[in-house]
Each structure stands twice: as structure tokens, then as C-alpha cells.
Amino acid sequence: MPRIMTIWLPRWPVQRILVEQPSLRSQPVFVCRRNHRGLLMVAAWAWAMPPARPAGRRPVIEPGMSLAEAMAVLASAYGSRSCRMVHVADEDAVGDRQALETLARWSRRFAPVVAVGPSPLGSAAGRLTASEVDTAASDCLQLDVTGTADFFGGEPGLARTAAWTLAARGLHARAAIADTPAASWAAARHTAAVAAACTQQPARRQGHWLNRQQRWVVVPPGRQQQLLAGLPLAALRLSAEVTAALVEVGVESIGHLLQLSRASLRQRFDRLVTLRLAAFLGETAEPLQPPDGEPLPTSSHTFDLPVLSCDLTSDDLPALCDRLVRACLGPLAVLGKGVTGLQVRLNGGGSRPPTVIDVGLFRPAASAAHLVELIMLRLSRTRLPREFAGVTVEVVSAAPLPCRQQLLFDTPDSAAAVQAGPQVAGLLDRLASRLGRAAVVEPRLLADAQPEAAWAAVPVAGVAGLPPARVASGRAGKEGAAGTASAGGSCRPTFILPRPQPLEVLAVAPEGPPVRFRWRGRLHDVAQVRGPERIETAWWRGPTVRRDYYIVETGGGGRFWLFRGLRQQTWFLHGTFG
């Protein structure tokens, strides 16, 4: 009979944040997700160290409450000042899962097989439809501890050690050992109740004397049906709908459910109910699935003796990198994948930390030469350690190589992208390696009436085949611009000053065009003027921008773009044509 230990980490998303940022322990932390209407709903929350006991009742904040409501509850318990201390984080299921996988690796000290649970109950039960597979977020580890308990002085010792070792790492965890993953999962959620059942105390009184902080429990082999009978249906991970239906007819615990005939259950509910029951009792095997994902290739070279950087010739390092990169690319090429992220570590001699270079790419690359070039570009910007003992190249992320098929009917965009793609991406990679990713930008036109806000420098995102920058309709403010006579008007200068420069201007009429102005010490007589173009906008960002723009041609043939600020009636130069 296998023995399974479940380590449950209550409110895992919050716990993870608190471990990563211990300074938040003094604040209420909410992890929220957006619902379909865009409202923030609480997914988990905690206040590790509240300043005092709540003034009123202890706040009851349940997952699924809107953040606003949760804040009201919090305020009523701790006073409105507590709301200002709140730290709100967005739910990050991927991050949670990754952190849990790290923890799983760490937990191999307790047992060889560690899975991130709860298991989806898929493989063993045969094909399940999409609606049957439950997509509950992961918040526990499941370990196959068959035969490993003796190293820890028996199962109780193992469970206790697991719970308290994690506690020492700042994690609140509950551990339970039972015959099946489902049973141990249920027991871990209800350690106190199960412990009470184990010690034969009346369950009703449990709340009054048992230690609620009971962190671990062991269900002796073959006794889960008896000892866990009192647990609520939720412990079986039945859907809320099924649970509600069962509660309605008075079936509230696992024990009750077991008394009903399976045939009549099958007639009323989907297959998952009976499957879960079978998995709980151990009638169906539910093997643990260790975290999937093949290891990404890594290769390293250790020198016999630490080498001094100054001893290396300019070809040594590229040659070494090339060898290591090729070693990594080999296994990937078989899978049809290319590298999108690469880490190069120059392992320092002795206790010195390694020098790490991260290389990110805009599109998956399978060319060793390209990768080495990128590494060298980065290395040339990096100060090398005086001496180092070895070099490691690790592929951090990989993605399938694009196999782009030529289109039969090219649109202009796609044709350009197909042709320019590799070269542009290569250039971008090189530029970004040299200057940093944030320094490679492209200008985009934005539809905004205020000229300074009508464009933005956007870091080049993603892979080649760049989405064509949205071409704004020249001038803002054409309601439903299509098909209207907006041809003129939107004349914008070739060069625009980053910020308008004050000018000395002579205008005849108070609202009239400029006649003469002084710029860079020279007087310019206005020969021709076009305008005004009045712009009043941006009130929602700050003070309203109110300007009258003129395009002027001076006697000297220069063309300038001036405006009069209507607020102070002062003149500015904002750009020049040609």
C-alpha cells in the first residue's frame, strides 16, 4: 500500500509574496484577480502581523469578494487607516506554480517523488471531458513517502518535520499522510478535525480545546474511510454545484456520501463524483505526476586551473562559447526548437560569485554564430573577473523555431515582414545586445491633438514581423474621420522640438498672426502665414493645453511652426519644416 503525504500551503499566493518580500508582513496583502467586468476580486489575503486585535469582529474576507467590499470589512475591523496600508498584488498563477515547483524540488529531501498538487485526476480515470477536469490552482505538494518515513523516525516524525521545516523557512504549511493522494489532501485541509477523530475525541467539541494550529496528522493505513468520514464534501474536491446539490438533500460529509449508492450518484451527477470517491478510497490508482517539462540543455567547461582573463586571447572565449552553445543547440534542434533565452556564467575561482550574462532574443535562434555574436557583444560591455575557473552556458528558455511559409498572396505588410524579418530581427538583436533592450525603440504615431503627445517611442516588442505601427489619422479630432474632407490642416513639421521654446514675437492684432519674431538672435520677418490652427485639449491629463498654431514662412525662406499660448498670450517655436 503506498503512503502519500500532502503538504498544504494555505493562501499560497499570499504566502509566496510574503516570502519573497518579507517587509510586507506588517501590511495587509491582497492578491486579486479581475472578474469579467474588470472589478478586482480577492483571490487570497493575509495580514501576517496585524498591529492589534481587531476592534470589532475578526474580519471575514472570503475569496471571491470584491476588493472594495473586502476593504470595507477590513476597515470595520481595524479602522479605516488599515485600508491605506493595503498592498494589492495581481494574481500570478504562473509565478505561483513556478515557486511551488521550486519548493517541490527542495522537498525531494523527504521523498524521491514529489508532485505539485492537487493532481488533476486525469490519467488514471481515463478520458475526461474539458468540463470535468478541474482547474483548481495549485497550492500543495504531494509526496510518495512509501518507505521513506523511517529516515525521519516514522510517519509522525516525517509529517512533523515537514511542517516545521517549512515553518522555519517562513511558510505556514500543514502536512498529512494517508493511503491515497485524495485522502491525504482531504486530511491536510482538516488536520485539526482528523487529529480529533484519531484521538477519538468527540468532533463537536473540537473547537473548544484542540489546538487549532495542529499542523500535521497521520491517517493510519486503511482507516481513511472511518477517520475522514466527518469531513465536509469540499474535502473531496467536488464542484461547488455538486456540493450544493448534495448539501440540499442533507448529505454534508464524506461519510454521508459514502452511504449513498454509487448507481444513484452516477445518475444524478457527472462522473467526477464517483471517480473522486474511488480515488479517495484507493479503488482507482491516482499516481503522482512529478512536474513535467524536460530539462533544458546546459553545458559547461571547467578549466584545469583558474585562468586569468588577461591570458585569454581574443579568440579563446568565442571559441569556447561556440563549442558550449553548439552542445546546447544539438538537443534543441532535434525538438525543432530554438533558443530565446540564454545564460552564460563565468564561474569565478574560489568563493567568488559567478559573473552572469543573460541574453534575451527577439525570436528563437538556432544559429550558433548569431548566439555567440550576441554573447560577445554583451561580454564586451561586461567587466570580466580577473580570473575564472570555468564557463557554463545554460539555455533558460526555448521556443519552437518558426517555419514560415511564403504566402501565396502576399499582403504588402506580410511580404515586407517576411523579407525583412530575419535581417531586421538580427539587427535588433545585435543593437539590443549592445545598447540594452530598452534602448531600441521605434516611433509610433498616436492620435492625440497635442503635438508632443501625438507620438511615442515604444521599445521594439517581441519577435520580427513587427506589427505595423498604427498609422494615426494625422490629426486628432475627426469624429469618424473616414470619408471626411480632412485633407489639409494636419500639416506637421518635419522636425519637432522636444519642448516648445519661448520666442519673442511681434503680432499686430491681439489674436492675429505673427509679423516678426526673433529666434537664435536673428530677426525673422514673416512673409507668409497659414493658420491659425487652434488646439485645446488634454484637460483630462492636467491643465488644458490651449494654443493657436501658425505655419510661417520667413523672408529668408525658412518655414517655422509657431504657436501662441492662449493662456498667457506668449509665443513659442515648436518645430521647423526642412
Binding site: R57, S76, V251, S261, S264, G480, T484, R534
Partner: protein
Amino acid sequence: MVQPVNDRGGYAELHCTSNFSFLQGGSHPEELVTRAAALGYAAVAITDRGSLSGIVRAHAAAKEAGIKLIVGAVVEPVDAVPLVLWAANATGYANLCRLLTAGLMKHEPPRQGDEDQPTAWSGGDDTGCRLTADEVAAHAEGLLAGLPLARLPATDESAVTAIRAWQERLGDRLYGLAEVAREGDDHERLEAFARLSRCTRLRLVAAGDVRYHDRNRQPLHDALAAVRHGGTVEAVRARLLANGERHLQEPERINDRFAGLPGAVARTLEVADRCHFSLDELRYEYPDASVPAGRTPGAYLAELSWKGARQRYPNGVPMKVADLLEHELALVTELGYEAYFLTVFDLVRFARRRGILCQGRGSAANSAICYCLGITSVDPARMSVLFERFVSRERQEAPDIDIDFEHHRREEVLQYLYGTYGRMRAAMTAEVICYRLRSAVRDLAKVLGFSLDRVERLARVLDVGDTLEHLPGRLAEAGLDPASEAGSRLVTLAGQLVGFPRHLGQHVGGMVMTRGDLCELVPIQPATMTGRTVIQWDKNDLDELGMLKVDCLALGMLTAIRRAFDLVEQAGGPQLTLATVPAEDPAVYEMVSRADTVGVFQIESRAQRTMLPRLKPTCFYDLVIEVAIVRPGPIQGDMVHPYLRRRQGDEPVHYPNRAIREVLEKTLGVPLFQEQAMRLAVVAAGFTPGEADQLRRAMGAWRRPGVIDEFHRRLVDGMLARGLSRTFAEQVFQQLRGFGEYGFPESHAASFALLVYVSAWLKRHHPAAFTAALLGSQPMGFYAPAQLVRDAREHGVAVLPVCVQASGWQATLEVDGKGAEADISQPAIRLGLEQVHGLGETAGRRIEQVRRAGPFASVDDLSRRCRLDRDELLHLARAGALKSLAADRRQAVWRAMQRQPEPGSMPLFEAVDGGLLPAEPGATAAEPGLPPATPLEEVIADYRTAGLSLTAHPLQFARRQLAREGVVTAAVAAALPEGRRVKVAGVVLSRQRPATAKGTIFLSIEDESGVANVVVRTAVWQQCGPQDRRAAALLVVGRVQRRGAVVHLLATRLTACQTPAESSPGQAEREPLVVGLPRMSRDFC
């Protein structure tokens, strides 16, 4: 002031979009018109997109400001460039209305329930007016048109084509609107316009494409655009106008702007001169009633009235009534309102033929004519003096009759009207749905980029009664500094937006009918509800133009009374009508004086029931007063207590002079009715009747400052001049001011009082029928079914549970089904299937019908014969309606949960293919593993599924524990002396926060012994947490307060009785008393 702009002196703005182009214009039509007048414009046109909704307001404002208004609209044909249309004469106006109607009626109205979204209807980019260029051309007679050249295609050739297309259709009535807005290339544009004009011989007129009256509305206009497009201002900034030039410009700027286009400004006056239509020319004519050949309407009305009178008074028409009738008929003939009365009569006759109960009310409704025609049932002989404010000769005020119909059947009446008059001659009045503070803040906060979470919170802190002054404080409460940039932006914009129309709804019941085509007076559009059409004007617009409407309202109590009459008759009682219910029955007044009025029309609310034992009504007129007195108006005007004191003889009644005595005598010197307030202004302060009428209208507007001061001065001065004391004058003013909140006209009160009497009579003499009828007319009134049933049982009526073997869709009476405790003389009530939550009416009626063929043998039999699906069976099982077919409720639910075969599969083959039903043995049999339900669980299940339980009260089960904690029952608490501290627990029945009570909350809580009335001061309410405020059951600690026979509990602390099951158990002070009880409360706050 403003200099004439050119030699002919003026400019007329021909293209203005008001905020009745919903979510597009940034100013009210009144603002545009007033500003245009102030700027010295010669005329101004209001041209909304596909709408004339704002035109009447503009018309009124233009008359006041003395500026010429041009009536127009913008049409956007699907196959041509848009066009501004102006009505040149009455024919043109009629054509414009017809045209818009034609376009609007093609539109599919949005489905109900989409109201959150700005739909096409409420002013998305589609105005809902679908037209083609040919349709426009077909209705072009009498119309002038302007082509906004800025919206033509960019290239000259296509622009010329577009212009020629319209020129062919409209000839010389087409002008080109030259519109520029300082966009940098104004000069080039004007040149381009001039070029087009030369090519096509199109005459150019200057125009402004005005969106708001003042430059400072630009932000609001931008924000509205964002609301329309459903994004933040930042997100939709590409669609915003680049500057704020589209306001009403100063005339000298206009001249500057169009200097390059000589004659364009002057030509605006040419257009304005060609448009000489005014809304004053509209002739509203009431439709001809079907008068038999050879008789005038007047003679026919008289004939019908006298015939009716003889029927009403079989023993001879009393002298008083005969005189009244003579007088009224003469007046009606003189003022030409015969057709109106005949139309109303026709409507009532139709309703009566169909067996729909109805009753008229309103100023004209309590006339002898209406009584004789059967429009009302309030006997003029039974009332003392009422008809002084009938149809007055001096004020040209239209008679006002509202008719209440049974609420389920009003639609039949409306469809009859549509059928009789046709879609083009009858339609419902619109109601302009305006931004209120909450909706304004919600929409603005969204477009200003606040997080949705914050938006929700802002909207939630705003109470219904909050006004703009409260806003900064409320924002601070929601954690937004009102002085911050974002905060002040929100406050400013909200201040401008409140009161803006958002979309057109429909009035509750106002029907407009005309002799000629209604669609030539005003555009008609489809309403949200299929089968209804509405005009684009609301009731104020109709008033302004003197158009009559008949209000056909839906009244739940009439449905209940009709049903009670039927039930009484079915149970072997007499056949009753509103008029034949025995009058002035002392037993009824005795019951009413005891405040035993649960379920009785109007006087069942808590406030009314506190008043009844003090007022002790003894005659019909006392009921009239009772109906009128418990209203915000009299309460705020502090008229209730003086009246009570005088009635009880504690205070002498003193009248300053005889005229005042005449007005106020029947209400002991205290003005309780709106008419009295007006008469008082006439006799005491020397108002003319016309001014008094203005006063009545102004009452509603008294919240606005300014209006009130003017009337205050005139009233007090007038009274002082007539030798009345200043104290008296101020007191009268305060009383009148109360009517500004909400006052009741006597005629309404009288009609309502009749329904009060009839329903009280039914309750007194036929409680079973009455309660069954009320249950069948839900939702209505103040009490939920649970309280109605409880009240009936307290009156000795047996109530039987819902059962598929016995229940109809609605509650019925069972003569032989008496319970043990029942009063022998009363039949028992069998609750109807409509009590079953979630069960649809069609399924319910089907069960009722199918059962006639024989009772159901089993659940399977039921489900097969009635074709019930799993959900329907579940609803029935949960409500306990299957108890007769299954062992108990749980077994029934378990049985109903069973999955059913795929729809469409043939029952015959099921057994053959091993279909689901009989496949597994034991599946249909009772499941022995199910634990039996405890009595408490049964009761909770009853509450959850039917809203009431016949077996026990949920608190009964917690009584022992409550008693340990010193909690007493409501009945015990009610017997305690004044000031005693007491704890009571109960299920919350209602929460009320009357506007007149300064934030005090009134709760009714119920336990197994009865109902306790709890008063919660604001401070106490604020102290308790949100869980406590919304709890289904409450534990109240408070002090007993006695006022005569009425006992209140003044709460000092409220705690939820029900702690959520998931709360951490160590913190809960006690085990939850009641778990899973749904909220029963009816909230009025």
C-alpha cells in the same frame, strides 16, 4: 450691447446639437437658446440628430428670451451624406415629424436588460433613425435643407456628385453649410467651399456646427463622447474634437471667420426668414369619439351621463347630484372637452366589457359626470365638497383624468387604444431619463480613468437623496480627495452632467391620442417594450403645448380586488363591484382603527399603521384624509400633529377669516390637500387662479433656489396686505413648502380612499379570499407573502401548503379543506404554484390544466404528463410541492435530480435502448442513505423556496438558547413598560429610510410571536458592520418606547444573528442561530 454684425443686423445659427442628441450635445436646448439671444443672434435652430425631443423646451426658452427658434433636425440617410433640415412652415414641420417617424419605426429597439450599455438607442453613433435619400425627398415639401460641406467626401469630384445628388431632389431649398472651426486650414476650406459652390450653384450659408453654448463645456462634451464610445477619455482621444471652437461664437468673430466668403453670414438671415414656423401654430385636436350619427358630442355626453345617473341612483337622482351634473355638463360643453370625456368613457367601457377592473382619479375624475359614466366609483353624494377644482374656466387647464387598471391587464387596454386609433394617431408619452448624481458620477469616473473598483465604491457611497453639495464629502468617504485634480474634475463635470438627458424612456402610462395624425405633431418611435410606441416628448412638453393625455396606469391592488371579488363569488358569496361593496360599514372602520390593516391598500405601511389608532377613522372622508396625511408633504410641513390635536379636541380651531374658513374647514384648519394650498394662496394672499396654478407647478421646483424666495415674498406680502398676521403667513408658507416635497390632491386621495375602503371591507369580511387574491397579485404592497399568510392565519384562516395535486397556479380557496384551528365560516387558502421559486408560469399552468384529467400517480407520471424538465421538477421538489408523491422533501429532490433523457428522444424507445430512466434498478426508488431533515432544516428550506413556512418560525428553534441569553419574544417586549432595556431577535422583514426622517432607519423584525418595530438612529446604524446591516436575522438591544398603542424599540446595538458558516469558529461568540436563512427583507432605503 452687442453690435449688429452686418448691415442687415444679425446672424442666425442654423446648426446646433443639443444634449437631446443623447450623449452628443454638451448643453441643454434652453442654454443654447438663451445664450444665442444674449449674443444678439437673429435666430437659432435646434437641430438634433433624428430627434425633436428637446424642441419644446427650446421653444419655451425662446419665447421667454425673445429670439426666433427654427425647428429642425439632422437626418443621416444610409445612402447619402447627412443633411440638416429646417421646418419652413407647418407643412414642413408635419413632414419632418413624419419623416423622422418613418426612420425611427424601422429601428429595432434594444432588448430589455441591456440598459447598462450605451446602446444605439440611447445614443451610440447610430441614432436609430434609418432613412434613405428618397424618403427624405418624398417628405421635402415645406422643408429647407442644409448640407454640412465639411462632411462631404474629400475630393472635389465626389463632393460635387454628393451635392448634385441632393440638388436633384431638393432644388432651391438646398443650402450649403460652410462650417470651419479654426483647424489651421480654415482659409483653404472656405476656398474649397466657394469652389464647390461655383461648380454647383449651391448657395453657401455660414454655420457653426455648434455642440455647446459655451467654450467651457468642451470637457463635458469630450467626456460624453467617451461615454458614448465606451472608453476612457484618454482611450478615445482620437475621436475627440481638437478644440473647443464649436460653441456659440460672438458675432464679430463670426464676421472675421467668414470674411473670405462674402454673403454667407447674411444668407443665414435669408434662411431664417424663409423659416416662419413656430410650435405655437400646432393645433392639437382631441380625437372624435364615436358619436352616433345625428348627435353632437355634447348631446351624446349628456345623454350618456343622465342614463348613467339613473342607473347609479335607481331610486331617483338626488337633487344635489342632478344640479352638479347640469353644471358640469354646461361647463364641459362650453370649454369643448366633450370628446375628452367620451374617449375616457370609451376606454372604461372597453375595460368593463373585458372584465378589467378600473377606476379613474385626478381633478376631473371625481366629477358627477365621471361617476355617472362609471369612470369612478366615488359617489358624489357621499363626498361633501370636492368639485370646486373641477375644470376651471379661468385657467385654461386641461381636465386631468388618470385611470388605474389591473396591473396584469393594462397592456390589453393600451393595445385597444392602439387598435382603435392606429399607430399613427396614438402613442405613449416619453419620459426623459436624466442623469442623476449617482449615474453621472459612475459614468464620469469611468471615462476619467478611475479603476472600476473605485468607480463602484464611489457609486456605492452615494445615497439616493444626495445632491451636488454632498458630492465632495462622499468622495472623501470613498477615499478620493475632492480637492485633488482628478477629484475636482469629477465634481465639476458631475455638476454639469446632472440633469442631462440620457435616453428616452416611456412614461408610466400617459397615452396621447389625436384626431389627425399624431406623427405630424411629433415623431413617434418604438419603445423598448415590443408592441409599444412612444412620442419624443415628455409630459412637460405636452403641458407646454396644451396637449391632452390620458394616463392609463397599472395598479396591483385593482388586480387583487378583482381576484378577491371573483373568489368570493366562486365560494358562494355575493357578486361584488367597487360600487356595490356595502358603504360605511362600522365593522370595517373599527378594524381600521385598530391598525389591523396588513394588506389593505395604502394604509398598511408602518407609518400609516402608527397613524390609524390616533386618527381613528369613522367615515369615508376620514380615509381620504388618512391617505393624504401620511405623505412627505404634510409631514414636512408639520401639519400632522396640529391636525391630530384638533381632531382629538385638544386644540381649538381658529380661522383668521371666513374665506379661509371655507377653504380649510373640512380639514380642521390645516391644509392637507394640494387644492387647498392653491385655494389658500388665492383667498389669503390674493393670487389669481392662474398664479395659483403657477404656484402648484413651482411646488415641484422648490428645491431650486430663487423660485422659493420669490413666492415667499409674494405670499407673505399678500397675506400681510389682507390683514393676516406674519406668524400665520409664515406658518402657511411652511405648510405650502411641504407640498413641494410631495402632496396629494384631494381628488386622488378620494379615489384611493375608495380602494382603501373596499380592500379593508374584503379583509374584514372575506379574509381568506382577500389574502388569496393578494398572494396572486404579487409583488405589490408593503408585505411579503410570508407576512400576508401569517396575518391571515392570525385571523383564523387555514392556509394549506403548495401541492402539485391540489394547487392551481395562483392561490385558491378550498371550502372543504379546513385545518383544525380554522374558523369554520372561512374557506382555507391553498397556496398556488406561483409561490414556488423559479417555476415558470407556463409550467405551472400546465400542471393545473393536466391535472384535470386525473391526479398524478407518481413523480414520473407528473414529469411525463406535464413535460416538466429537471429544473422544473427540482423547483417543485425543493418547495415541497411533491410531498404527496414522494416520501419527503429530500427524497423528492433526490428523485428530481435524476438526469432526464435527451430532449427529443421517444419515451417509447427508452426502455428498449436502455435509456436513462429505468436503466439502473433502484435509481428511481427512495434512497435510504439520505438523512431525514430536521424540523429547522424543513423551515429554512420553506423560506428558501417559497419565502414562507407554514410549519414553524425559524427562531422558534433557537428560543431556548436565546432565552438563556436573556432575549425575549417580540410579544413580551411589546408588553414591557416604557424605557425598559430589552433584547429581541428576529428575521428582518423590512428596512426603511424615509427621506423625512433624517437618516433614521426603521426596521421590522419578526419572531414566532409577532413583529417588533425597531427604530435605529443614524449613529447606531453607522456603528454596526456591513454584515450586521445586511443580515437576514438580527439581535437587537434597545429600549422600549410607547406612543399610545404603538410600541417601538429604540435600538442601541444591532448584531447579526447569523454568523457566516465559514467564519473562524474561535472568534464567533456563539453558534450561529439560523444558518442558511435567505434575506427576507423588503428594503425601502
